[in-house]
């Protein structure tokens, strides 16, 4: 039998070629230009990158971003794990309803959700008013205009991105392992801690990195729920590009962020099967 002229993989390459060319033209090329601007403006060299080490306001923005994103990731994972765990045990019917509850907020604009939280959390908002009406508190609780408000808003946004990969992971766990553990005399707690939890860890790592990476790009929620007092890296970049037109600094930060994200994704790829995480199999 004759082999095809390009070899078997050659044909596959030709099939993906149009998509690949588009990626290079519309994605890779602009990215390279961003990198280019970051070393060419205002003067050629690595001056912009030196700011990463010398500029105290960039330090502060990076630290704030890191702190909020780590906190958001931790809380989201904890809550998401519980939801995914319950979902994995629930009946088909309940699962469908829960899934709807998780997916519905995804279709609501991030701006609308931020303002909805303002309505709930502000001094004369629904929560404070009802608590004061019941006599539980005398003065309104400071639920908003601080990092608490930001974290609430961000966790709410991120939950689906944690639940979905966690659920995929949990569904893949062979229930017979748990049954075996119980059969060998483990308590419910022991079988969870020593069998289920370790088996679900790849999903946890994957979800953490996904949520963390998404959080890095946040700007609307922190700006609104933080009372304007919190500045995260995405907004800092936007100010550099759109307002003060210091493109060198803006593109340097964008490049740094991309490199950091690719590094995290690289780490992710070592720990979990990316195709499974994104639902390809």
């Amino acid at each position: 039998m004759r082999r095809p002229a390009f070899g078997e993989t050659g044909i596959y390459w030709m099939l993906v070629m149009p998509a690949l060319l588009m990626l290079i033209g519309f994605y890779l090329f602009p990215l390279v230009r961003v990198l280019w601007v970051s070393v060419m403006e205002p003067t050629p060299g690595l001056g912009n990158y030196a700011l990463l080490f010398t500029n105290s306001s960039i330090h502060r923005v990076l630290l704030t971003t890191l702190r909020i994103c780590l906190l958001t990731t931790a809380i989201t994972l904890l809550l998401g794990y519980v939801v995914a765990y319950v979902m994995a045990q629930a009946s088909e019917r309940t699962q469908r309803w829960m899934m709807l509850g998780i997916l519905l907020p995804l279709w609501i604009s991030v701006l609308v959700r931020a303002f909805a939280w303002v309505t709930l959390l502000r001094r004369q908002g629904i929560i404070n008013n009802s608590l004061m009406g019941m006599g539980v508190i005398d003065d309104p609780l400071p639920l908003i205009w601080n990092e608490l408000g930001i974290t609430i808003g961000m966790v709410h946004y991120m939950l689906p991105f944690a639940v979905l990969p966690l659920l995929t992971g949990m569904r893949g766990i062979d229930r017979r392992c748990l049954a075996a553990a119980r059969g060998l005399g483990a308590s419910r707690m022991q079988s969870f801690m020593r069998v289920f939890l370790p088996l679900s860890l790849p999903g946890v790592v994957g979800a953490s990195i996904l949520v963390f990476i998404f959080s890095l790009g946040f700007l609307v929620t922190p700006a609104i729920l933080g009372g304007g007092r919190t500045l995260m890296i995405a907004e800092y970049i936007s100010v550099q590009i759109l307002d003060v037109v210091q493109w060198g600094v803006g593109t340097m930060l964008a490049t740094t962020l991309i490199v950091f994200i690719f590094a995290l994704l690289g780490l992710l790829a070592r720990v979990v099967d990316m195709r499974r995480l994104f639902g390809a199999t």
Binding site: V61, R123, E235, V239, D243
Partner: protein
């Protein structure tokens, strides 16, 4: 809103809200939007085909169809050609266009932060004052790279349930006297100036701004501060009782007072008068026709209509005599209101604007 809103962006939003609430008619809205852009058509414009198309860019929304209906059509009837673009002329977008040598805008709605950042980089055309009439603008607001289109102010507003009498800017910084949170814009423009005025710097000696002193003054009430990004946010923070006093644009302060049933008040005393500026991107396609369009917008009649519908002050001093008596009090460029305000210095912003914004953002997020 994904970034700090500009005054011009907020204007389109106010007008749309007012129209929906039925407080201005469609005709008034169109007139107002037109005055924001193009108030009058240059007379005697008969050379139809010889005139290039002028692209006017603003911050969009309802302003775009309204511009078309009210001004593109008469302009076309008068022999001119015009397109209205609502895609929002941020500094970054203008820079992109000019650097790519693909300029599609002729006239952009901007401000001192626009001329300040873009002018020195060679990204704007110089205003041609042989076509645009200097006599129709306050000389303080005619610049090399931009010319005043309308006036607005940064003013102090307060909740009269919590703040009694006629407070001054000094009271804004006195938490003991009037307890409660204060509100600033999430950008330096106007905020540093009002901090210095509160600290006793005379209005005519504001510039060059003593930044050390301004930030020191702001630091005294930092823990009590909230910051607004968009005009609508500034209005709701005061209305919802989240803050008791705030520094905000006169247009929003005016809406608060009008809709607040006596609960809200504001003053032009110790305010900062600022211009909305027309700028022309370098290498604009219509060439000198852009300046003819700007000249046509200097007609006082349209500017007064804009004041009536939205509270923007006419940039043309000759408009003062046309302003109806009941609107004089709300007009930021009314002679009586100008007398009690400081005027912004575009020259200072050209040299220090970016650094001041950077430092302001540092200050609030520290």
């Amino acid at each position: 809103m994904d970034r700090i809103q500009s005054f011009a962006e907020d204007q389109a939003e106010i007008l749309a809200d007012e129209y929906r609430a039925g407080r201005v008619s469609r005709r008034q809205m169109l007139a107002g939007l037109g005055a924001l852009g193009l108030a009058a058509v240059a007379p005697g414009a008969a050379r139809a085909q010889a005139r290039p198309e002028v692209v006017v860019v603003n911050f969009g929304g309802e302003a775009v169809p309204a511009f078309r209906e009210a001004f593109q059509q008469p302009f076309v009837a008068g022999g001119g050609r015009m397109v209205i673009d609502g895609s929002g002329p941020s500094n970054g977008k203008i820079k992109t266009m000019v650097q790519a040598r693909n300029v599609t805008w002729d006239i952009a709605d901007s401000g001192v932060a626009g001329t300040g950042e873009l002018g020195p980089l060679g990204l704007l055309e110089e205003i041609d004052y042989s076509i645009v009439d200097r006599a129709k603008v306050d000389p303080a607001f005619t610049y090399k790279f931009g010319v005043a289109n309308y006036m607005f102010s940064t003013v102090m507003a307060w909740d009269t349930r919590k703040v009694t009498g006629k407070p001054t800017l000094a009271d804004f910084f006195d938490i003991q006297k009037f307890p409660g949170r204060r509100m600033l814009r999430r950008s330096n423009q106007g905020m540093l100036e009002l901090a210095l005025l509160a600290d006793g710097v005379p209005a005519d000696q504001l510039y060059p701004l003593d930044m050390e002193r301004a930030f020191k003054k702001l630091a005294t009430i930092k823990q009590h501060l909230l910051f607004w990004n968009s005009g609508a946010e500034s209005q709701s923070l005061l209305r919802d009782g989240e803050v008791v006093m705030g520094l905000l644009w006169n247009t929003r302060a005016n809406l608060l007072k009008r809709d607040g049933g006596g609960r809200m008040d504001y003053t032009y005393n110790q305010g900062l008068l600022q211009p909305g500026l027309w700028v022309v991107p370098k290498g604009n396609p219509a060439g000198k026709e852009a300046f003819r369009a700007i000249a046509s917008m200097q007609a006082p009649e349209g500017q007064v209509k804009l004041l009536a519908s939205m509270g923007n002050g006419p940039a043309n001093p000759q408009a003062a005599s046309l302003v109806p008596a009941e609107l004089k009090a709300v007009n930021p460029s009314d002679p009586a209101n100008v007398a009690v305000q400081a005027k912004i210095s575009a020259e200072w912003y050209e040299k220090n604007g970016a650094a001041a914004l950077q430092r302001f953002l540092d200050f609030i997020s520290a």
